[in-house]
Symmetry: C2
């Protein structure tokens, strides 16, 4: 692939009651364009990742809304894929550039979720699950709790394994001013927090957040023409899907869509999991991070939880995971998450991640999931030589 | 563009209380694949156009749902652009093939709208309008009524001009068994029907419908390899956007996004409006068809209504418009509409449209609009020589 990331920006994630959907849109788009060192008029197409503006803000047709507030005159496309909306938007922007019909693309992921009561939001989120699951009264934490139970039983992992990703990711978030929860938590706090769906406690669940993230992509040709040499290459962009209902899966111990998307991505990039320097993975619930580490080929099935015991996936470790704080610590405005992962990897590869900078990173991977794994998107980014 | 339509299928449109979203999905996808004379396993990527399943059927994440019910293992992407969701889905599938990452694509537009009371559906539809318009208590018929009033006043068009598209399109629908309203209506009926928003009456508004439509696209290379010679070429695929709120437009007499999309499409195809044999245009309200005929460059501004007086846009006329019955007569399951337009043009170009077949068509154009024109998509299809 001959695609570069030229610029990237993330708004603060959190309960942003003073900011509207429009505010988040504008801030992220304009700052990403500024960061790319190009002008608004250089943008040739825009992709939007958003899941719930129609339900939570009475606002679908975001393409036209963004045209109005950004005062721009280019095609705009909104994609939706539950919590993978942002990642899918990035994948489609890559395709637009690959088609050679466009030289540049802006991708923005946005979600404004905290204006409603969280029980109402959680109900709307369930539209990303199977109707059988909705009719059974299940919630997403309930569905992931089923996976967590299976995992603990099958691999005889200790209960505290489920807490480990949250503790690590909150530590990373404590180094990230943009994070929803920029503070540390400890094991006792995790285990003492209210059980949401056995065995998962409150502090093992990602929050409901507001926020936006945007990136500017271009063809290598455009970057060369403009002498924008400090970008980062996207060397793989891969999307895979799987059945929507857990009852229609062969196993609760893996997410097939992740395995498929990862395999395709490694093939596209011509490299293997061992060459990945660091990752942003989809830790909507802590069990999801453990399973992702295995499905992405970094650890054998049943060994992912051990990586979290010995510190190798923490800042300073061999291969840090979720340096942004992940969905758990940085927050999870659903449509923004897949784009924010790219923002973090871009910043790390450009050595501008400040106090949470990982040392000399070469290759970063992002992994964004919709629902319980009905959609998975993997991108691999590489520093230019 | 080197893209062919290989197959196409439309379900019955109407109040299909005995059919679910899943039923409509499956029927349209499987029949389009069968029509293309290929196998399900030949499909390499799928695009879904849908606006309201999240709100009306508690079902977002349609990519994963379709993966499950169609039992398929390829990337699936859902796009949303209000009533242009179907057209945008087609445009993105064209891009996927243009990128040369995929040789074939299935596009399906679907909407299941009649399970709720129509006032509730109308409210959900308003999420495609500006918040200022929603807050003013406007409805889409109200917004189009503003355009209709301006048009009548500015161009001194007689009141009955607004009825003409409905009468013509119902006549076409009377020849289409798949249509929501397969029967004729006359001027007296239109004028006597209840006023919904002055001046537009009930019979000048498209209905709320259930339905789906699907098409199979391929690269020319794939079609050649498989000796699928009877396809139809897509010679232009164009998307444009405009401000979401009418108050933010320069004129109520035109839809700029349509003009832009049309101009780009004619340039891509290397032809002009005079060469179009027949069209499917977005007649959500009758005024929309009149304005579209002008914005698409077929008639000078202020002269569109005259085309409807002299019969030249009717079956048998010089350049028939909305042979399917249009949104008014055939129905308007919003996500399906943009795809259904391609189905109709495909069937006409293949001379298999039965009693409503237009004579010896060479080139057909589709025009799909979101909201009051915040999104417009134009495709041009040509019979293979």
């Amino acid at each position: 692939m001959n695609i570069s990331v030229l610029g990237a920006y993330q708004t603060k994630f959190g309960e942003l009651w003073q900011k509207s959907l429009e505010d988040l849109f504008l801030e992220s788009c304009l700052e990403a364009i500024r960061d790319a060192n190009i002008l608004k008029k250089d943008i040739q197409i825009i992709y939007i990742g958003n899941k719930l503006a129609g339900s939570l803000s009475d606002q679908n047709h975001l393409s036209s809304l963004l045209t109005q507030i950004l005062k721009i005159n280019v095609p705009v496309v909104r994609v939706e894929a539950a919590c993978a909306s942002g990642g899918v938007a990035v994948s489609q922007a890559c395709m637009a550039i690959a088609s050679e019909q466009y030289e540049t693309a802006l991708v923005v992921g946005v979600e404004k979720m905290t204006d409603l009561l969280s029980e109402n939001v959680a109900q709307h989120l369930m539209s990303a699950a199977g109707l059988d699951e909705q009719d059974s009264g299940l919630s997403f934490v309930g569905l992931y709790a089923l996976m967590a139970m299976s995992y603990l039983q099958k691999f005889k992992a200790p209960r505290k394994s489920l807490a480990a990703p949250a503790i690590k990711n909150h530590f990373h978030a404590s180094l990230n001013k943009k994070a929803h929860f920029p503070f540390c938590i400890n094991l006792a706090q995790v285990l003492k927090s209210p059980v949401i769906a056995q065995p998962l406690t409150l502090l093992e669940c990602s929050p409901i957040s507001d926020g936006a993230a945007a990136i500017v992509l271009s063809s290598s040709k455009f970057a060369k023409k403009r002498q924008l040499k400090n970008g980062v290459k996207i060397v793989a962009s891969s999307l895979a899907n799987e059945n929507i209902s857990l009852a229609q899966r062969q196993s609760l111990l893996e997410i097939k869509a992740t395995k498929k998307a990862a395999l395709q991505a490694y093939n596209q990039a011509g490299l293997g999991p061992k060459e990945i320097s660091f990752l942003e993975v989809h830790d909507c619930f802590t069990i999801a991070e453990i399973i992702a580490l295995e499905d992405l080929g970094l650890y054998k099935k049943g060994y992912g939880f051990k990586a979290l015991e010995n510190g190798e996936v923490k800042l300073g470790g061999k291969r840090p995971v979720n340096l942004s704080g992940g969905l758990k610590g940085c927050g999870h405005p659903v449509g923004a998450t897949g784009v924010k992962q790219i923002v973090e990897v871009f910043n790390q590869l450009k050595n501008r991640a400040g106090v949470r900078q990982t040392k000399d990173p070469k290759i970063g991977l992002t992994h964004n999931v919709g629902g319980t794994g009905g959609t998975a998107v993997v991108h691999i980014l590489q520093k230019k030589a």
